[in-house]
């Protein structure tokens, strides 16, 4: 390791462990301290309630100037998350700010689960279903949660 880990990452990691966000856990990889294994509980008033979703998160070299990279490892039926687990979230792209942190990002993701936005989709077919037949979509989401996230 030629470059030591920036202070900020160390601080953040420490805080994540000592003062975790409710419903969210983030644990760094021993071999790669920039690589985190994350678990988010499905928000209660959502079809994902009761499910535990696994994600992985990576802090790129120029973090915090560049946003962290996050993706879902658990299959999820959501208009803003594609089959590969990629997430369409503004703060992860153009709305990122170095003042944001890992915890805030993860919180935003949790919030996204609670309020899907089919008008800015990543998974087009899912979004379509959401718009055409929301109840069916919600049902499907529930089923998938049962199937994969429990």
């Amino acid at each position: 390791m030629s470059n030591p880990l920036p202070k900020r990452i160390i601080k953040e990691t420490a805080r994540l462990v000592s003062d975790p966000v409710p419903g969210i856990t983030a644990v760094p990889n021993e071999e790669n301290l920039r690589h985190f294994q994350v678990e988010i509980q499905g928000p209660s008033e959502s079809p994902y309630a009761g499910g535990l979703f696994k994600l992985e998160l990576y802090l790129p070299e120029d973090y915090p100037m560049e946003p962290p990279k996050v993706r879902f490892l658990t299959k999820i039926y959501h208009p803003n998350i594609d089959r590969l687990g990629r997430i369409c979230l503004d703060v992860l792209k153009n709305n990122w700010s170095p003042a944001l942190q890992i915890r805030t990002i993860l919180l935003s993701i949790q919030a996204l689960l609670a309020s899907p936005n089919p008008h800015d989709p990543l998974a087009n077919d899912v979004a379509k279903e959401w718009l055409d037949n929301e109840s069916a979509a919600l049902q499907k989401a529930k089923e998938c949660t049962e199937k994969y996230a429990k």
């Binding site: 920036p6 202070k7 900020r8 700010s97 170095p98 944001l100």
Partner: protein, 1126 residues
């Protein structure tokens, strides 16, 4: 009206020509019978017998005499079989008996009356028919094609003697006929054997072993040659205004070509000792032009340049097809030497040079010591060059190597081809022995196996027709820096006047418009910047001799009567020095008046030398035209690069040197330009090399002599590139200009209008380059007059950059006010000023509360980016307008990150827009460091803050270093911007440097006297310890100057074309330089300069294509511009 004319085909059985036959017949009957009667003497009585005998003896004598004559004639004429063809004859008369297989036919020729004014187009077929000598009847017709072959050779009304001018003879034999009576229209087959007669070769092989190239123009004694201007018409098929004679010649030539075609006579490659072109050259070399251009076209496709294998024929075709319809079509122009012609690749150029400088011939040149008062000792290769030049001037008495003198230039005229006599398969030959085989005396009887023919002019020869040029003079094309001036001066010194001229003939009437002859003077035409250099070289070289050199320039010159001055017997200058500008301006006056005493055109000079001869490469410029009109007995061109852009550059030199026939535009066009355009590169380059080889001498620095030692030992050249960063102010300005430029380019690209906006884009780039040098270059100042101001006597404009020059004009015309610009760029950032600050402190609660606040409260704050708390030192805390706090490091990093991504910065916490360094506040602590006293704002950079440009700064440092090492060092500084040179001069002459530097400047704005002064001063050793700095504009001083007293140079800026920069460095890295050379180049990091450097390097790797015309150059430049903005 036509006369039948019997012309029997040559008959082997009776090889005597017709006339003699007739003589025999009419006078004495049968020779044979006569002979037998002699030996059949019966006894007789004295009186009776003696009378009879005497009569018989006499007649026998006569016949023997005739036979001797006949034999003699036979011995000295011969004919040789070259092939046969079978034709189908058509019967025109019925016959009673069938035609006999194997019977001979002759030809019936109808002549046209020579004075018929009416040009009746008669078909050849009606003029020549088969004739049966046995029945003395016409038999039939020949096909038109064959009739046209045979007719011109059977009939020649030029002379009455049918024996001497039969060049080609034909023997016809029936080889097939139906075994029945012939009716009209029946066909029969005839084999026609063709022979070349010795008369065809006669004049060429006996009288001259080589064909003078000029004979095509003037001589008439070579009966087969073509005369005068109309010859070129005939040669090139323009049939306007041909008179009958020429019509005949034209027919003959056509017949020859058809004959050769019909007989399938193909040329064979010449022998080893007679080589046209070195065998290593092959078509694919020439095709490498296309290689590079295709490669560059495909650059877009992928990052790496594709290497296309040109050995693959399919590929060649593919490439050719690609280009077929496109650029080459437009080069087909009726005018000779159309302006645009295809480009030459570096490889082709090298091949041409390779040919003309075969190493062995160069190394074997003998050395000659100069005479006539020449002071210097020549280097070995220069002495060799002197021998060569003397030979070219036919000054054989001065060369002491007889072998060398006699060595013939053994190049075959490329229009000639070698043919092999095929094995004799003539019909008639099977039956009769060839009498000519027996007799053995002169060389003609050794059966020649090969012959040479020039199908264009219709000449034949048994010996190799070499090219021996009449012109005295040539091209000295040694690489730059090898001392051509000295070599030329040695020549002038050794042969300073015309040895054939009688001095007491005051005025010689020469062929050229009766001009007086300045038989002792060599006129040397040079670019203006070299005028004094030549003079001083002359004076050094000829020190102590009575020879002197005079400058013919400017107003003084107009008053001089050159006729008196140069042609009288009094002491005349050996060298008259002038410039291209003077020649041109004199010529324009001369052209108007056309007579009289107009300076340079009023006399004919002994010798004419043009230096940097590539200046006249465009034969259509006034300069070139005026130079062509100068008259002299001997002509020399000095140039480091005889071919700069296209093959046709060479034409101007060929024209200048009167290398007939190639100096005729039509001839050049047909033998060089057209084949080249039609991609017959080998043929064209063959001709070029044939023309060049005898008259061009070129040595390069990296050649080796016979001992393996390098030709020229030059000290090492060290070039170092120093990358430097712009100061923040400069960078700020650069960025804003860059943004504008990028937008412009992007928009143009999108609309596909890059070409249209080409000039404005050039302006943008120019400004960026100027910014990299010095901000002063952008300021509206009287001094800011670039490029255009070259003295009116100086013609050497670098065409390539004429558009650059225009760009400079445009840029300057736009009246840039730098202060204004700075303001504009700052406006983007919207700096706080004191008013803002006051407002914030008073009206803004947040900031208001902070004033007087305790340091401790500051310490509690955390930077939201790095999460560090406290932020130390406190002064490095940064507040945004929106009251958010960061440490200055994080803020800096954030701002630069955004700038790199070309995104606008917003407050990381609340996203308030327009975050900028100019809108941040930092606390200022009071003396006790306990409370905040006030805030600091970053103030906008003011132009007044601008002290020095980065480059200037580094240059000054480097000069100081040099000064410390050696205070009386000499240094050259090059820049393309004369304004920058002004700036540098001002800087270096400032008081603070304590006169360490003695600065002089040499650029296009100086007149002649001033330039001379500058150079003199630079050469002199300094009395006090001052670093001598010579500032040279890349354009004005790149040419020819010898500055070897200095060994250190700085290149302040970068040029598109690396060659120009190399030329600049060659001012000090050349013969005469004794120390290692050090060159430093400044390049601004992250700028257009850096990118241009990469382009230069890529060009160097690919081998720079010497571009064809302006449009080609543009295209190339556009590609480069695109890559600048990638």
């Amino acid at each position: 009206m036509s006369k039948p004319f019997f012309n029997s085909a040559l008959d082997d059985e009776n090889s005597a020509p017709a006339k003699l036959d007739t003589i025999n017949d009419t006078e004495n009957g049968d020779i044979a019978s006569q002979e037998t009667s002699i030996f059949d003497l019966k006894p007789f009585d004295e009186g009776e017998v003696s009378q009879k005998t005497r009569k018989a003896e006499k007649s026998l004598e006569r016949t023997f005499a005739k036979k001797r004559q006949l034999d003699f004639y036979n011995r000295h004429t011969w004919h040789k079989f070259i092939g046969s063809f079978i034709v189908e004859g058509t019967a025109t008369r019925p016959t009673t008996k069938p035609l006999i297989y194997g019977s001979k036919l002759s030809f019936l020729v109808t002549t046209l009356e020579s004075n018929s004014k009416v040009k009746i187009k008669r078909s050849m077929g009606s003029l020549i028919k088969f004739w049966d000598p046995a029945t003395r009847r016409e038999v039939g017709r020949l096909p038109e094609k064959h009739a046209s072959i045979i007719y011109p050779f059977l009939y020649n009304s030029d002379t009455e003697d049918p024996t001497s001018k039969k060049e080609v003879s034909f023997k016809a034999t029936i080889v097939y006929a139906e075994p029945k009576r012939i009716s009209v229209g029946d066909s029969f087959l005839v084999q026609i054997d063709c022979f070349l007669n010795s008369s065809l070769f006669e004049l060429s092989s006996t009288t001259r072993p080589s064909i003078e190239a000029s004979q095509l123009q003037n001589t008439t004694d070579l009966g087969h040659s073509l005369n005068g201007k109309k010859s070129s018409n005939i040669l090139f098929g323009r049939n306007t205004d041909l008179d009958q004679h020429e019509e005949k010649l034209h027919r003959r030539r056509k017949a020859l070509m058809t004959l050769f075609d019909e007989l399938n006579l193909k040329p064979v490659p010449p022998n080893d000792d007679i080589s046209i072109v070195s065998d290593t050259q092959n078509e694919s070399d020439a095709d490498q032009t296309l290689d590079v251009s295709t490669a560059s076209a495909q650059k877009k496709e992928q990052e790496n340049i594709e290497v296309i294998d040109l050995d693959d024929e399919d590929e060649n075709d593919a490439i050719k097809e690609e280009h077929q319809g496109s650029r080459y079509k437009k080069y087909y122009d009726e005018r000779p030497n159309a302006e645009s012609s295809p480009e030459l690749s570096v490889n082709q150029l090298q091949n041409i040079y390779k040919i003309t400088q075969s190493m062995s011939s160069l190394m074997d040149l003998p050395e000659t010591s100069p005479s006539g008062g020449f002071q210097f000792t020549l280097r070995k290769y220069q002495a060799q060059g002197l021998s060569w030049m003397l030979k070219r001037e036919h000054a054989f008495d001065k060369i002491h190597d007889t072998e060398f003198i006699n060595a013939n230039s053994n190049k075959m005229n490329p229009l000639w081809k070698k043919f092999k006599f095929p094995n004799d398969s003539a019909w008639s030959l099977n039956k009769t022995p060839d009498t000519t085989k027996e007799t053995a005396e002169s060389e003609f009887f050794n059966e020649p196996s090969h012959f040479y023919a020039n199908l264009y002019s219709g000449e034949f020869s048994l010996k190799v027709p070499t090219v021996k040029l009449m012109t005295k003079g040539g091209i000295l094309a040694d690489e730059m820096g090898l001392g051509k001036t000295i070599s030329t001066l040695s020549l002038i010194s050794t042969v300073s006047k015309d040895p054939d001229f009688q001095p007491y003939d005051i005025v010689k009437i020469s062929e050229d418009n009766m001009k007086p002859y300045a038989y002792q003077t060599t006129l040397v035409v040079v670019p203006m910047s070299l005028l004094f250099q030549w003079k001083s070289e002359f004076e050094n070289a000829m020190a102590g001799s009575s020879k002197y050199c005079e400058i013919f320039y400017g107003d003084q010159s107009q008053k001089k009567n050159l006729i008196q001055h140069l042609c009288s017997n009094k002491s005349t200058p050996t060298v008259l020095l002038t410039t291209y500008g003077v020649v041109q301006s004199e010529f324009s006056k001369y052209a108007k008046v056309k007579q009289g005493n107009f300076g340079l055109f009023s006399v004919k000079f002994f010798r004419l030398v043009i230096d940097e001869g590539h200046s006249i490469r465009n034969k259509q410029t006034k300069t070139a035209k005026s130079v062509f009109e100068l008259k002299s007995s001997r002509k020399w061109v000095l140039t480091g690069t005889p071919i700069i852009n296209k093959l046709d550059d060479l034409y101007a030199l060929v024209r200048f040197l009167d290398l007939s026939p190639f100096s005729e535009p039509g001839f050049w066009r047909t033998s060089v330009s057209e084949p080249f355009e039609n991609k017959k590169y080998k043929a064209a380059l063959d001709v070029v090399s044939t023309i060049l080889e005898p008259v061009l001498l070129r040595r390069t620095k990296n050649m080796q002599d016979a001992d393996g030692a390098p030709l020229v030992e030059l000290p090492k050249k060290n070039v170092k590139i120093q990358y430097i960063e712009l100061s923040p102010l400069e960078r700020r300005l650069y960025q804003s200009f860059l943004q504008v430029a990028e937008k412009n380019v992007r928009d143009s690209l999108k609309k596909g209008e890059l070409l249209k906006n080409y000039s404005s884009i050039l302006v943008h780039i120019l400004r960026l380059r100027q910014l990299c040098c010095d901000l002063h270059l952008l300021m509206k100042a009287k001094k800011n007059k670039e490029a255009v101001q070259q003295s009116k006597f100086d013609d050497i404009i670098m065409e390539e950059d004429s558009e650059e020059n225009q760009a400079e004009n445009v840029a300057e015309a736009e009246h840039l006010d730098l202060a204004q610009l700075l303001k504009m760029s700052i406006l983007r950032d919207r700096f706080f000023d004191q008013k803002d600050l006051a407002y914030l402190q008073n009206k803004d609660e947040f900031f208001g509360n902070l004033i007087g606040a305790e340091a401790s409260s500051l310490r509690k704050m955390e930077c939201q980016i790095c999460l560090s708390s406290p932020i130390e030192p406190l002064e490095s805390i940064v507040f945004t307008e929106c009251h958010h706090i960061f440490c200055s490091d994080c803020m800096d990093r954030y701002l630069s990150h955004k700038e790199t991504k070309n995104e606008s910065a917003v407050c990381p916490i609340c996203r308030t827009p327009e975050l900028a360094p100019a809108r941040l506040l930092s606390p200022i602590m009071d003396n006790t460091n306990k409370t905040i006293a006030s805030f600091r704002i970053e103030s906008p950079p003011v132009l007044e803050d601008f002290v020095q440009s980065t480059k200037m700064f580094h240059l000054t440092n480097d000069l100081y270093e040099l000064y410390d090492d050696n205070p009386s060092e000499r240094v050259i500084i090059f820049s393309q911007f004369s304004t920058f040179l002004d700036v540098i001069q001002n800087e270096l002459e400032k008081k603070e440097h304590d006169s360490r530097f003695f600065v002089s400047k040499f650029d296009g704005r100086l007149n002649l006297k001033e330039r001379q002064l500058v150079l003199q001063k630079f050469d002199q050793d300094s009395e006090n310890n001052q670093l001598k700095v010579l500032l040279i504009s890349l354009k004005a001083g790149g040419v020819g100057l010898n500055l070897t007293k200095a060994n250190k140079a700085f290149l302040m800026d970068i040029w598109w074309n690396a060659g120009i920069e190399d030329q600049a460095i060659d001012r000090i890295h050349r013969i005469g330089q004794e120390r290692d050379v050090f060159v430093k180049r400044y390049i601004i990091k992250n700028s257009v300069e850096e990118k241009m450097l990469k382009i230069q390097e890529r060009k160097r790797m690919l081998g720079e294509i010497v571009e064809g015309d302006a449009e080609e150059r543009r295209q190339r430049r556009i590609e480069e511009i695109k890559s600048l903005f990638e």
